[in-house]
């Protein structure tokens, strides 16, 4: 056991900052090595990864600022590893790989690599990371939606030692390489994860060597208490009460037209808060479920971190650790979409998490009007394109498409940007086309539908048209084709997303796709055009300054017609001016008509 006990000495405030800085530098360095070394674009370009250090009780000491869905998820993996660890114990030189969604993993493609850290012969903590892998041999290449159970997700790895006492488990490495459509990438990227975790373990040991075990873990405990204190102070500022909101997801990827309810109840009492997901849909028969430990809880914690400890507006940055989770309780009935029973598949879990966060924000709108924002896309577009090269080898490409934010109390919703729980980087289109038989035909702000009008408008979604140059398969995990992001405090609603498939030679013969589909066979020259939802507006559109509306029209964020209909602003495009007389009259008429 390490020294995190109540009797540990109090670490002085200066040493505390020094150790905090060291923790953060180590986590960043681990993330940096991982994405720079790796081969698959989902890790190296999108940076869909997380890395950090943990104590022997699985508390997070530090985590890299990579993508939020990974932040806070690794302790779940560590608990799952403890349940399943080969040999039942850790040895120096061990390296474990783990991805089992019913043993704490976030979802199966996010493989964790964990290295134990020993001090004077005792286990004192862990260095670990998670990264999203291109293909782990699931039923369909890259991503899955319409599958019967968790066993269709591909390799399930639980507490498996890739190295035992420093010696590689070559049988396991060979097994992994042979059971993926992208085996070379998978193995190389795991090697990058191992290099990153070992580096973290080395730095952790050095830190303990410099300051001593008591001081390092004492500092870690104090930093957790600090995060907890910050979070509790903010929660206490919310009036006590029960706040609820609900929305509908499109479908489960198989049973078309059957919407799935998401119900969020937020109970605030003093400096604690509970997120209750009771009333949400039953678990689905497809992969469209959310692992409770590794994803549902992580997303709920993230919602409050965004709401209460906003990194852009808080003067003090709160360290990334368990402390901020302690005052938050998350519950979801077993057997529901947010807490499925084994062996339900639970790989496609992102959009439910994002909608849950969107609804937590909505639920708190009446009591936090200056903090909440209007409805965001709260979706994701996760596309897996794949096909065969002339050699017979697979090519697999995973792409994350962005969304848009709702209008905000003091600013417009950002356009075409990763939304809420997502924060990856896009894959440069030129880089993609040099390596994969695909080419992008269009990557722009969508202009077929306006964003939600408001004093502050919603963000504008993206349109991305990807064309395959060979016959291919596409699996697409997305949402919000049926329920548009809401407007708030008088703002108008945004626009739903859509997904079109057509052949480049016959662009008029369009097939409109559902938001989720699996293993669609397409022909060379076929294009998938994805339009992400536009955010809702915040506040009364008639209060948006005329000149701001003019700027929007000039920039094509808004048409002349929409400026008139939604904002009551009359724009002369030839002279690039506003007709103020006509505008005032029109706005008066619109107010009177309410």
């Amino acid at each position: 056991m390490n020294a995190i006990t109540d009797t540990a000495p109090e670490v002085d405030p200066v040493t505390l900052q020094v150790i905090r800085g060291s923790f953060e530098t180590i986590a960043e360095e681990m993330g940096h090595v991982l994405y720079r070394m790796s081969f698959s674009s989902i890790i190296r370009e999108s940076q869909d990864l997380g890395a950090g250090l943990f104590d022997a009780q699985f508390n997070t000491l530090c985590e890299s600022e990579s993508t939020p869905m990974h932040i806070g998820s690794i302790p779940g993996y560590l608990r799952g590893i403890a349940e399943t660890l080969e040999d039942g114990e850790w040895y120096e030189g061990d390296v474990v790989v783990h991805n089992h969604p019913y043993h704490g993993a976030s979802h199966t493609p996010d493989l964790a690599i964990v290295v134990p850290v020993f001090h004077e012969g005792r286990l004192v903590g862990f260095a670990g990371n998670t990264a999203h892998h291109v293909d782990i041999g699931a039923a369909t290449p890259g991503l899955i939606i319409d599958v019967p159970d968790v066993y269709a997700e591909g390799m399930l790895l639980a507490g498996v030692k890739l190295y035992r006492k420093g010696r590689p488990n070559t049988a396991m490495w060979t097994f992994i390489r042979r059971n993926s459509r992208a085996g070379a990438q998978l193995v190389s990227d795991l090697e990058a994860q191992v290099a990153s975790a070992r580096l973290g373990a080395k730095r952790f040991a050095e830190l303990i060597g410099t300051y001593g075990e008591d001081v390092v873990f004492g500092a870690a405990r104090q930093l957790m208490d600090y995060s907890e204190r910050m979070t509790r102070q903010r929660i206490a500022e919310i009036p006590d009460g029960e706040y609820a909101a609900e929305g509908w997801l499109d479908d489960d990827g198989r049973n078309r037209g059957r919407q799935l309810k998401v119900k969020v109840t937020v109970r605030v009492a003093g400096d604690e808060v509970e997120v209750d997901l009771a009333g949400s849909a039953e678990q689905t028969p497809t992969a469209y479920n959310v692992p409770f430990e590794g994803s549902t809880k992580v997303a709920a914690y993230a919602a409050f971190r965004k709401l209460l400890l906003d990194a852009a507006t808080s003067e003090a940055r709160v360290p990334s650790n368990e402390g901020s989770f302690r005052p938050i309780r998350v519950s979801a009935p077993l057997g529901s979409i947010f807490n499925p029973r084994s062996p339900a598949s639970a790989e496609a879990r992102f959009t439910q998490c994002n909608r849950m966060i969107d609804l937590i924000i909505r639920a708190l709108a009446p009591v936090l009007p200056e903090t909440v924002i209007a409805g965001s896309s709260a979706s994701i577009s996760f596309a897996a394109y794949s096909g065969l090269r002339p050699s017979g080898a697979y090519w697999v490409f995973l792409e994350v498409n962005e969304g848009a934010y709702g209008g905000r109390p003091r600013s417009d919703g950002p356009d075409s940007i990763d939304n809420l729980m997502a924060n990856t980087r896009n894959n440069p289109l030129e880089d993609l086309a040099m390596h994969i038989p695909m080419i992008c035909d269009r990557y722009e702000l969508r202009d077929d539908m306006p964003p939600g009008a408001g004093r502050y408008r919603g963000g504008i979604g993206v349109v991305k048209s990807q064309r395959v140059l060979t016959d291919a398969f596409i699996t697409h995990e997305s949402e919000r084709h049926t329920e548009a992001p809401w407007g708030i405090f008088g703002g108008h609603e945004g626009a739903v997303g859509k997904c079109l498939v057509y052949n480049a030679a016959r662009p008029e013969e369009v097939t409109e796709m559902p938001s989720k589909f699996s293993g669609l066979e397409v022909k060379a020259g076929d294009v998938m055009a994805y339009y992400s939802p536009n955010g809702g507006g915040y506040g009364d559109p008639l209060e948006r300054p005329e000149m701001t509306v003019l700027e929007d029209v000039l920039d094509g964020f808004c048409t002349v017609g929409h400026a008139r209909a939604a904002y009551g602003v009359v724009v002369d495009l030839d002279t690039e001016t506003v007709d103020m007389g006509a505008t005032n009259a029109l706005r008066d008429r619109m107010r009177d008509a309410r």
Binding site: P13, Q17, G21, R36, L199, A311, S411, I417, N423, L429
Partner: protein, 694 residues
């Protein structure tokens, strides 16, 4: 013949003049509105000080923050952009990643402060296809002309041309420029394939847009400065230091101002490197501490390192241009100490700036800063700042530390001041580690070189924190950056995308590599020709930027001497494997290596400033330099009677034992107990632990 270095900072413009008669230093206030006014005044004044006519000045080397300030103040040109149909919003979407993970109220700089407004980004039909660069759709020339008409109507005179896949074939970009020049004579035009001829559309377009955004104003500034110098009778060549540390001409910088965005801090790194050479110390870490920030750079074996071009950002926008590898953190003399709502003790990154400035300035500042803490601890003498020109109020410093830090934390004022210093030193030490240890560099082999007026107060503490070997204090810490300007070489860089898997490279691929290398070599040679550098004095190096096939990040590998052949091509891959292992602690020896970009760096040595040696000690006591003795508190909490020495009166070979403070006009050096400060041949100082080998 004389040369002048002029470094323009946020507060002061520092000048150094070198003639046969000696070296002269001068400092004037920066004229913020137009830096050239202060520069011209300073040049005239320093010539008077040296007793030479301005006409004797042969070269002026200038470090400027003009281009950087345009990006900070967000007042660049209204630009137009002509781009590929279907890709109008590459600059608006960026890499679609938010600046913060946990925030709802974040700002997106490339959307809220775009380099080119969407209304002025005009997409035209054209298409170049990978991987060959063949033209699938010809350029719609009418559409280009129509865009020009719109730009004219909107009064735009700065135009960016950026097409998808132009790194494979720039024919459409070049043709579009011809049309723009016909339609908009005199417009400032930037081709993306010229400023950054590499793959990755957003970063390339952003670099080009930044060039056009800062271009007209920067070009105006440089030409205006040149004209004002002429008017003042200064006929000298004007050279500008670039972000990569090389100097270039006014003409070249006016065309490619994107290369001088980091002109400001570059001089300091060069100055530090040459101080290292002068002291015979190859491995140094420079720490240039100003009022609001500190610039830190690691220089191993006298070699200044360049940033990976994937990591170069300016004001939130990616800019692919060679920059010295340095980290800037918000830690300086003006950094504010404060306690947050949950009791966290922070110093910086917010700075009190020069208005109101630290509490001790007496300009209404009530928050304690690092400078105030130094005064409380007796490390800065309030009556000695800038040789006594700047009077500081120790009472105000003490009150600020007491009210804002000591009382809330239940500490004594001295403890609180020590805490402020420890936290700021810790921030700097972490930044030093991120720029050294994090890259596999062992600071125990390095000397810390602190400069900027307050830098040498922190030198020993930083060396202790990162376990550096010792501390080297430059001759004139307040103007090390200006001196650095007279130590730089001419330098030009060009790149070309050459995407070839090395193991499978046949004769055609090798010919492509050699052809591109030859063309790049010729390109930089012609630029050096233009500066009047004879070919035999030109040094041209070609680097191969490689990665494992399928990776996303390149590392620089060495190219063989002479042409690449089937026999020596493997040496490039070997060099890459080694570099990969060095940087990441792991290499994939069996994986295929891919060449992505060839880079040519052409340099020509400039004459270096010669810092004169000072007389050697005759063995007499250094007490000849003693000013007075006052109590001073050190990091271990002890308060000791500490002698102050006039640094200018110390002789080569003098060894002053700590505790001591070395004072000069614009800098203060702290020598804690247990350390020895030895004056070196040029008046520079090495501080080492007593008993440590030299």
């Amino acid at each position: 013949m004389a040369r002048i270095g002029v470094d323009v900072g946020g507060t002061n413009t520092d000048l150094v003049l070198e003639t046969a008669a000696g070296v002269f230093y001068h400092k004037v206030p920066t004229t913020l509105k137009n830096q050239s006014i202060g520069v011209v005044e300073g040049v005239q004044r320093i010539c008077e000080m040296a007793g030479i006519p301005a006409s004797e000045v042969e070269t002026i080397v200038h470090g400027t923050t003009t281009a950087t300030n345009i990006t900070i103040e967000n007042n660049g040109s209204d630009c137009g952009m002509i781009t590929s149909e279907g890709f109008r919003d590459i600059l608006h979407i960026g890499r679609h990643k938010r600046p913060h993970n946990f925030s709802l109220h974040f700002d997106v700089p490339w959307q809220s402060r775009p380099l080119v407004k969407r209304r002025n980004r005009i997409a035209v039909a054209e298409r170049i296809v990978p991987p060959t660069g063949e033209i699938a759709t010809p350029l719609d020339e009418q559409a280009v002309r129509a865009a020009c008409a719109l730009f004219r109507r909107r009064g735009i005179d700065s135009v960016v041309i950026g097409f998808m896949f132009a790194f494979l074939n720039d024919a459409h970009e070049r043709r579009a420029r011809e049309i723009v020049q016909e339609e908009m004579p005199g417009a400032y035009v930037t081709l993306a394939s010229e400023v950054a001829n590499v793959m990755r559309e957003y970063e390339r377009f952003s670099t080009a847009a930044m060039n056009s955004y800062v271009g007209p104003k920067t070009a105006f500034y440089l030409r205006d400065l040149e004209a004002r110098l002429r008017e003042a009778g200064v006929q000298s060549r004007l050279r500008i230091i670039q972000s990569n540390g090389g100097v270039s001409t006014v003409g070249a910088c006016a065309r490619r101002p994107v290369r001088i965005l980091m002109s400001g801090p570059a001089g300091g790194v060069i100055g530090g490197a040459s101080e290292g050479e002068m002291a015979g110390t190859g491995n140094i870490i420079t720490v240039d501490i100003g009022g609001t920030s500190a610039d830190i750079s690691t220089i191993p074996g006298h070699q200044i390192k360049m940033m990976n071009p994937r990591d170069t950002f300016v004001s939130g926008h990616p800019v692919l241009t060679p920059m010295i590898d340095l980290v800037t953190i918000g830690a300086g003399g003006g950094s504010v100490a404060h306690i947050d709502a949950a009791g966290g003790f922070h110093v910086g990154p917010r700075s009190a700036g020069s208005e109101p400035g630290p509490a001790c300035y007496g300009r209404g500042g009530t928050e304690p800063t690092v400078t105030d803490a130094q005064i409380v601890l007796g490390r800065l003498d309030p009556d000695m700042a800038l040789g006594g020109d700047l009077a500081l109020d120790a009472g105000l410093a003490r009150r600020a530390v007491e009210e804002k830090i000591a009382r809330p934390l239940g500490l004594t004022v001295t403890e609180a001041a020590l805490g402020i210093i420890r936290i700021i030193n810790s921030s700097m030490a972490l930044a030093i580690r991120s720029n050294s240890v994090a890259r596999g560099i062992d600071p125990r082999q390095f000397s810390i070189m602190p400069f900027g007026g307050a830098g040498p107060l922190h030198g020993v503490a930083l060396a202790e924190a990162v376990s550096a070997r010792d501390v080297l204090v430059p001759v004139a810490p307040g103007i090390t950056a200006a001196v650095g300007l007279l130590k730089t070489d001419l330098q030009y860089e060009h790149t070309e995308a050459v995407i070839i898997e090395l193991a499978g490279a046949g004769p055609a691929a090798l010919a492509r590599i050699n052809g591109a290398a030859g063309a790049l070599r010729e390109k930089v040679a012609r630029e050096l020709d233009g500066d009047g550098i004879p070919r035999e004095a030109q040094r041209i190096e070609i680097l191969a930027e490689c990665r494992y096939h399928g990776q996303g990040f390149e590392l620089r590998a060495a190219m063989p001497d002479g042409p690449v052949t089937a026999a020596n091509v493997a040496a490039i891959a070997e060099s890459f494997h080694d570099r990969h292992h060095q940087d990441y602690g792991y290499s994939y020896r069996d994986a295929p290596v891919e060449l992505i970009t060839l880079r040519a760096i052409g340099t020509a040595a400039a004459r270096r400033i010669a810092i004169p040696a000072i007389p050697a000690t005759d063995g007499s006591s250094p007490d000849r330099a003693l000013l007075f003795v006052r109590p001073t508190t050190f990091d271990d909490g002890r308060t000791l009677e500490t002698p102050r020495y006039d640094r200018a009166k110390l002789l080569a070979g003098d060894v002053v034992p700590g505790p001591a403070i070395l004072v000069q006009h614009d800098a203060t050096t702290l020598v804690p107990p247990g350390y020895l400060a030895e004056t070196l041949a040029h008046g520079n100082t090495r501080i080492r632990r007593a008993g440590q080998d030299q």
